[in-house]
């Protein structure tokens, strides 16, 4: 079977890998693989910190994907000899003031009501785990199963794995999905070249809604949600695990890597396709990060970037058949693209090659939005 994948972000790459491993002839189309939100993302694998009321099914998907990560990255590293920067050393959520602690406690109760046990820490206990935390930190929640991955290592590893499986990578922009006889039959590039395919996967992140050729009902309802992210660098010991904090009501995270990089994120801005980095964005992130970890000001400031997350109306991804035969959607991952990549790849591979969505993906099939379209 011939599969065309539009978009080589982490979701398109992981799905291309899985489908090619099952013997499909895969063509991956992207002018710059891994250069979108994937290259900006911190790579936290901490689904409980994303938990919101009404998003219980998304939590289940996130937990399932997190639990796939150790095997997913091990297999990828074995196949390519490249590191993915995966670490499974847990995550710690902390609260800065009494109001933040009340919110964290509310999150804990909600988490426990869903049958997911929580490990509650006092401020002192949290600081024993992470001695550089500010003395005023009120308390925390430990998630020992969590971890992180380095998306900037994950992408080259996935590309190398694809190369080994003979996946064709076309470094051009996809202009439209070719529709013949009421079904998707390929992809036309911006230079007019037609690439025929039996099935097309649209995984172009926030640009998925702008692809040509789709009938109105098949256009995925995704929008760009800007996020600014900082990269700092340290040569000495810093944090030992992913840290998420609530600081006076706003959320910030710090993700340490083995190579000394510390990623600090992220803003959430509804400003269309705007990727400017702003003084205010940097200031807010540093303000909150410094309140949590005062020593952060000693680190080298390496980079600030802005990425565009693909946001969907309900914050959950669109995984499965579109309202156009032959077209499968794999977008709308919003804040969770890296986390959800392994489970998305499984669901999308089944949708592309077997024509069915496995149980865990059912709540995320795109037709949930059709009533409103």
């Amino acid at each position: 079977m011939e599969i065309a994948v539009i978009g080589a972000g982490v979701v398109g790459l992981a799905t291309a890998w899985r489908t090619a491993a099952r013997g499909a002839a895969v063509t991956l189309i992207d002018p710059a693989p891994g250069s979108g939100a994937t290259s900006v993302a911190a790579g936290m694998l901490a689904p409980l910190g994303e938990l919101a009321y009404g998003e219980e099914e998304l939590l289940r998907l996130g937990l399932a994907s997190r639990d796939l990560y150790p095997a997913f990255t091990a297999e990828l590293e074995d196949a390519t000899g490249l590191s993915t920067g995966f670490r499974g050393d847990g995550s710690l959520q902390v609260a800065f003031d009494a109001d933040d602690l009340a919110r964290l406690d509310d999150a804990r109760r909600f988490q426990e009501s869903l049958g997911v046990p929580a490990e509650t820490l006092t401020g002192r206990e949290a600081r024993r785990l992470e001695p550089l935390l500010a003395p005023g930190v009120r308390g925390g929640l430990l998630a020992p199963e969590d971890g992180s991955v380095d998306p900037r290592r994950l992408v080259p590893a996935l590309l190398a794995a694809l190369e080994k499986l003979g996946v064709r990578i076309v470094r051009r922009r996809a202009a439209e999905v070719i529709v013949t006889g009421g079904a998707a039959t390929g992809v036309r590039l911006d230079d007019g070249t037609a690439l025929p395919a039996d099935r097309v996967l649209l995984a172009a992140g926030p640009w998925s809604g702008g692809i040509g050729g789709l009938p109105p009902g098949a256009v995925p309802p995704v929008r760009p949600v800007k996020g600014q992210v900082l990269r700092l660098r340290t040569s000495g010991p810093f944090l030992t695990r992913t840290l998420r904090g609530l600081v006076r009501g706003s959320a910030v995270y710090l993700v340490p890597r083995a190579d000394g990089e510390v990623v600090v994120g992220a803003t959430q801005e509804e400003l269309g396709f705007d990727t400017r980095v702003t003084a205010g964005g940097v200031w807010e992130l540093l303000r909150d990060a410094r309140d949590l970890v005062p020593g952060i000001t000693e680190l080298e400031f390496a980079e600030v970037t802005a990425g565009l997350r693909p946001g969907s109306p309900d914050n959950a991804p669109l995984l499965g058949p579109a309202a156009l035969p032959g077209l499968v959607l794999g977008t709308g991952h919003y804040r969770n693209g890296i986390l959800l990549a392994p489970v998305s790849a499984e669901i999308l591979t089944a949708a592309l090659l077997d024509g069915e969505v496995p149980e865990i993906g059912r709540p995320f099939v795109p037709d949930r939005f059709e009533v409103r379209a």
């Binding site: 919101a52 998003e55 309802p221 929008r223 400003l271 269309g272 705007d274 309900d314």
Partner: protein, 260 residues
């Protein structure tokens, strides 16, 4: 009486059937926001102009358009009169409305209005032809000054934005209502339905709230609760409450009992 059709909220000559004005801040997702707006029955919703791009597709503005709700741009995030005036002008250009909810905040910790910058900005915007709805402290004198400079309504806070602490100084809200010649809209601090009902019982013409709904466990359910609370509080205000008494007074008359 007080059927919304017969008892509209009138601001600057425009009538609204609902006395509940909503904000969009804090909504976990656009789908949740849409359900909450629908359940609230609101006809007017504020949007922070600094946090949206009016030309972007699929944004919160599209949700409001779909719901048939009128957009009231606000100047959230402005600390000076200059920024607020500029933001209001950008909003007028982008959205084609001269209505603005004016917010000039003193600091991020409390998000309380800066009264001096607020009056300054209100004067400038009124002079420029805007219909100005200022978010103000629960200070009767400041409310009066804002009305005097030509604001179309005054919007005193119940308590700080997002705090859910309810109405901390009901007496001041009553004083503002008593003196106002423009609609009084209780803005900020509502935590639950009884707070919204109280605002209306105190004589406010409308209630503006966001967080109480958007951060509730079931936003659409809380939106429905607020809709009923505002309607109930309005009816109670119009009906006129009984005087408070120290001792009981039987509700059935004692006259005509046998044996007396």
């Amino acid at each position: 009486m007080a059927n919304p059709r017969e008892d509209p909220l009138v601001i600057a000559g425009e009538a609204f059937g609902s006395r509940l004005i909503t904000g969009t801040g804090g909504a976990p997702s656009l789908a949740v926001l849409r359900d909450a707006l629908t359940a609230s029955g609101t006809e007017l919703t504020t949007v922070a102009m600094r946090r949206v791009d009016p030309s972007a597709h699929g944004s919160v503005l599209d949700v409001l358009r779909d719901c048939g709700v009128r957009v009231l741009p606000n100047t959230a995030g402005c600390f000076t009169a200059g920024e607020a005036v500029l933001t209001a002008k950008l909003a007028r250009e982008a959205l084609g409305t001269s209505w603005v909810k004016l917010e000039v905040i003193a600091d991020e910790r409390t998000l309380l209005p800066d009264p001096i910058e607020l009056v300054d900005a209100a004067e400038q915007l009124v002079a420029d032809g805007f219909t100005v709805l200022p978010y103000t402290n629960d200070d009767p004198v400041l409310a009066r000054r804002l009305e005097q400079v030509g604001c179309a309504a005054v919007m005193p806070l119940g308590s700080p934005i997002g705090s859910g602490l309810g109405i901390r100084n009901p007496h001041n809200i009553e004083l503002i209502v008593e003196a106002a010649g423009v609609p009084v809209i209780l803005d900020a601090g509502i935590g639950t339905a009884s707070d919204a009902a109280l605002a209306m019982e105190l004589g406010c013409d409308a209630v503006l709230l966001a967080t109480a709904v958007t951060r509730a466990q079931e936003p659409a359910l809380m939106a429905r609760a607020m809709r009923h609370a505002v309607a109930a509080g309005r009816l109670a205000r119009l009906a006129g409450r009984i005087p408070r008494r120290r001792y009981a007074q039987a509700s059935s008359p004692f006259e005509g009992r046998t044996g007396t």
